[in-house]
Symmetry: C2
Subunit: 197 residues, 2 copies
């Protein structure tokens, strides 16, 4: 992972603020003027960077889904036939990092999907589906007795568990990031273990 050191571009600033605002008040609840104000320019200036408000949401959601899937595939590749248990732990860890570091995106990800144009929505759904299937395959290697429909339900449910981070109160009321991550990780494994029994 090459850590970025250069300053964020204006486009990236806009996307970040838009994500925060969309997560706080919903896509329809935020005006373009507010998004502009959040980055120090005003309203129509955004159209120098994006074709429209819809395009911002689309780029955010496609980006999230793609990032999750890419990270998941990378972890599978790095494991390469090794211990499935360790691979499952790796997937869980990656998802938790994302859920803790990009809370607004996690919120958007399963909340505003229906506001997308048909083609974008199909793309996002396809990426999400591939990500789920990747987890399902790994899960069924760890728990061979688990049938596919049950495995898929279990994966969706654990996503619900891991994505609950936005409800956990603002950073500070928590017992520290590492402890929270560890708790979530244990609970996810416990839930999977119970599903596989």
């Amino acid at each position: 992972m090459a850590t970025r050191t250069d300053a964020p571009t204006r486009r990236e600033q806009i996307l970040k603020e838009a994500a925060r605002l969309f997560a706080e008040r919903g896509f329809h609840g935020v005006g373009v003027d507010e998004i502009g104000a959040a980055v120090g320019i005003s309203g129509p200036g955004l159209y120098r960077h994006f074709a429209g408000k819809d395009a911002m949401l689309a780029e955010l959601l496609v980006g999230i889904s793609g990032q999750l899937l890419t990270g998941g595939k990378r972890r599978v590749a790095e494991s390469d036939g090794g211990d499935p248990e360790a691979l499952l732990d790796s997937l869980i860890e990656g998802h938790i990092d994302f859920a803790l570091d990009d809370r607004p995106l996690i919120t958007l990800h399963d909340r505003e999907l229906d506001r997308l144009r048909d083609s974008d929505r199909k793309l996002v759904r396809q990426l999400q589906r591939q990500y789920v299937e990747l987890w399902v395959e790994v899960l069924r290697e760890v728990y061979p007795g688990l049938l596919e429909p049950a495995a898929r339900s279990a994966v969706h449910s654990v996503f619900g568990l891991l994505n609950s981070t936005p409800h956990l109160g603002r950073p500070g009321s928590l017992p520290g990031r590492a402890a929270t991550a560890a708790l979530l990780h244990r609970m996810a494994r416990g839930a999977f273990a119970a599903a596989g029994a």
Copy 2:
């Protein structure tokens, strides 16, 4: 539980359809004309039954939170000092019933809270908080080693797990309601057990 046999009132019809539409497209994404059309009257006719669009959302969210809390309190009272394990199972079962039978309400419940007037939002949050604390107390009886902050995080996370039902595909792709409920129940217990270890 006295099962209702009389026909639903117009108010109830409106609330039900509004809940469905809000869950599908978001509060700001639904117009009053659509809500009216869903119950066979048109737009402004709704104002004979509600003070405004906001009032519908408020009544829905207060109703949900109150219903969950009331049901939880009833189960605690029925247990009355008995087996904490059985009480925890009872709470989980009640929450699962709600999540499976009223999916649109579950969706709204943690998605549109910020669209409420300040007073209504405070009321809903207070009801939600009481419900969480009720779970936390029971959970700490079952797992005495669990500290309060961790227990609260665990409860929120299990709510995320149980409330994932809207993502589980429409009824029919599932292996039957009873099997789904049983799976969710096992996973919730597994997650709690892992948190308590």
